[in-house]
């Protein structure tokens, strides 16, 4: 998997799917349209500031709440290359892997990294490097089954390859 590198947007605990993509926009399933409202109810400026490759860092239970796949779809379509968190809510975790949005659990990195830092994530080793401060952290690498899923490009291709 290609390494991710970008500027960090930082959020706290329990970032729920209603703030990632409010339900008032769920009458669309178009990734480009969903991306224009990404993070709208927690950070109005996000869509204006985010650049291709940027990284979201958050604390506990990122993506809690609804099962809407529109949440990781909106984040991916907004250009985000990786989400780092202390923990992820389980449905969000599955959805992100299934659609090919790289995510990585690393409590130490999630606490230490600050908004605006430049961060690099090597998915093969699970190493997260804070380019701004020089610190590095060992994130949790995916189990082989999920690496295979991701290597196939998500669940659809995984099934097609079977």
């Amino acid at each position: 998997m290609k390494a991710a590198q970008g500027t960090v947007f930082k959020y706290g605990d329990n970032v729920d799917t209603d703030v990632i993509i409010p339900a008032r926009y769920l009458n669309s399933s178009d990734p480009k349209e969903l991306a224009t409202h990404c993070m709208e109810d927690i950070d109005k400026d996000f869509v204006n500031k985010v650049n291709e490759g940027d990284i979201i860092v958050a604390n506990k239970n990122f993506g809690c709440g609804s099962s809407r796949e529109h949440a990781p779809i909106a984040i991916k379509a907004a250009g985000v290359s990786c989400v780092i968190a202390e923990t992820f809510a389980r449905i969000f975790y599955r959805n992100a892997i299934n659609i090919g949005l790289p995510i990585i659990e690393c409590p130490e990195a999630a606490v230490a990294i600050k908004a605006g830092d430049e961060v690099k994530v090597d998915f093969d080793s699970g190493v997260i490097t804070n380019v701004t401060t020089g610190e590095s952290f060992q994130g949790q690498a995916f189990p082989p089954f999920m690496q295979n899923l991701i290597a196939c490009g998500g669940l659809v291709n995984y099934i097609n390859n079977k």
Binding site: N14, D16, D18, V19, P22, A23, R24, L26, N27, S28, S29, D41, I42, K60, N61, C64, G65, S66, S67, R68, E69, H70, P72, I73, T87, A89, R90, I91, R94, N95, N98, I99, P143, F145, G154, L155, V156, I159, N160
Partner: protein, 423 residues
């Protein structure tokens, strides 16, 4: 080592003698569910798969419940997409306006979910069916698509937390108060990735509607599923609603649990979750000691609390009384059958005479879709399941989660109130 009830169901559906927590398995599915928001994304994905149709036309349920009757053109397009897919694939359990109800009220009522099943649904509250002794869990649209295509899903076998419920709850304490109490105790990620297994002699005092409410909100504690043992209440419910055979699993005596909590239901009080997390709970005694919290709207309904027990509790409190001036009270029966039963029992008359509106089944206001969206600065007491920022409308609005009894009492007083205050 023994297995939990959840682990036993998963092992049987994976064709394995036993499983352990953390093991990755592929399980056969008894039912795959989607709604009008999640199904269009799943249909788009299944069209990319090299498959010929769906795995079983009777084992897929498509319920048009979130933005229906359609609130705008885009929502109508979504429903049209699902309708055409259901028609093309001859899906038996496609429920459109006129037949539909809120999915997690509808499917048990239609007998599509029974004990021992493995069920996935592209809706986080799919965990509801654990009330009947099934393993059921929420997934996303791509998992739903794969489930529809193959009849299988991958799972990481969860560990479990045991909740021993003892004692008999007092009259106005319902399943909603039990689950809000638990979420307040363990937090919104207290059961992250885990099963919540409910046991104990207090369960005999919980109706099937109470249990459906409790299992429904397992996701609000981060749980993978919530599950109840099977007893005569469960069997009677399944006999009444389903023609399907069921399988009764029970946890091994030496099953391992990560944690165990004992909860004496007789000590619980009416409980309300304050904005903006379901874990921000306060008992009615604590609330009565605070400055009064004035409200603008009350919603009684949803997959959490739109069933007959819920409407009966609300009607008992509202009968012969008027809603406070200026309070908008919206009551949403969960299914067409519940709606009709509520009319025949006279509950709808009670609600309308009190000044409430009674809507056709819809998820509508719960997720800020339609039928009761809040303006800036407005407050709602709601029997729904989430009170996140902006959940029911404006980002500056507030949702207080409560039981139908508290919601009905609050409708009468215009502030957050316990049922004892008006009865």
């Amino acid at each position: 080592m023994g297995m939990t009830m959840t682990q036993k169901i998963l092992a049987a559906h994976a064709g394995l003698e036993s499983v352990v927590a953390g093991q990755l398995i592929e399980a056969d599915l008894d039912l795959v569910l989607g709604n009008d928001i999640t199904s269009p994304v799943a249909i788009h994905e299944i069209e990319k798969m090299k498959v010929d149709g769906v795995f079983h036309k009777d084992k897929i349920a498509l319920v048009m419940d979130h933005f229906t009757p359609n609130k705008d053109i885009k929502s109508a397009q979504h429903c049209k997409c699902v309708r055409e897919f259901a028609c093309k694939n001859d899906i038996t359990n496609y429920f459109d306006v006129g037949e539909m109800g809120i999915e997690h009220a509808l499917l048990p009522e239609k007998g599509l979910t029974v004990a021992g099943d493995v069920i996935i649904g592209a809706d986080s509250h799919t965990c509801t069916y654990g009330a009947l002794g099934a393993f059921s869990t929420g997934v996303g649209s791509t998992d739903m698509a794969a489930g529809m295509a193959t009849g299988k899903a991958w799972f990481k076998v969860p560990s479990a937390i045991k909740f021993v419920l003892t004692g008999k709850p007092s009259k106005w304490v319902s399943g909603k108060d039990v689950i809000l109490h638990i979420i307040g105790m363990i937090g919104v990620d207290g059961a992250l990735y885990k099963s919540m297994e409910f046991v104990g002699d207090g369960i005999q005092y919980l109706s099937m509607d109470d249990r459906l409410t409790i299992a429904n909100m397992a996701i609000e504690a981060g749980g993978k599923n919530g599950i109840f043992p099977i007893d005569d209440v469960t069997r009677a419910y399944m006999k009444e609603h389903s023609t399907r055979e069921w399988v009764e699993y029970e946890a091994d005596e030496d099953a391992e649990y990560d944690e165990e909590y004992v909860i004496d239901l007789s000590t619980l009080k009416s409980t309300v979750a304050f904005p903006h997390l379901p874990e921000n709970t306060h008992t009615i005694d604590e609330i009565n000691a605070m400055d009064e919290i004035k409200i603008d709207q009350v919603v009684i309904g949803s997959c959490t609390n739109g069933r007959m027990d819920d409407l009966r509790a609300a009607a008992e409190i509202m009968k012969g009384k008027k809603c406070a001036k200026g309070i908008r009270v919206i009551i949403i029966p969960g299914t067409q059958k519940i709606y009709l039963d509520a009319i025949e029992e006279g509950l709808v008359r009670t609600f309308i005479e009190a000044g409430a509106v009674v809507s056709t089944p819809t998820c509508g206001p719960c997720l800020g879709g339609h039928m009761g969206v809040l303006a800036e600065g407005e407050r709602c007491v709601s029997t729904t399941n989430r009170n996140f920022v902006g959940r029911m409308g404006h980002v500056e609005s507030e949702v207080y989660l409560a039981s139908p009894a508290v919601a009905a009492a609050s409708a009468i007083t215009g502030k957050i109130s316990g049922p004892e205050e008006v009865m």
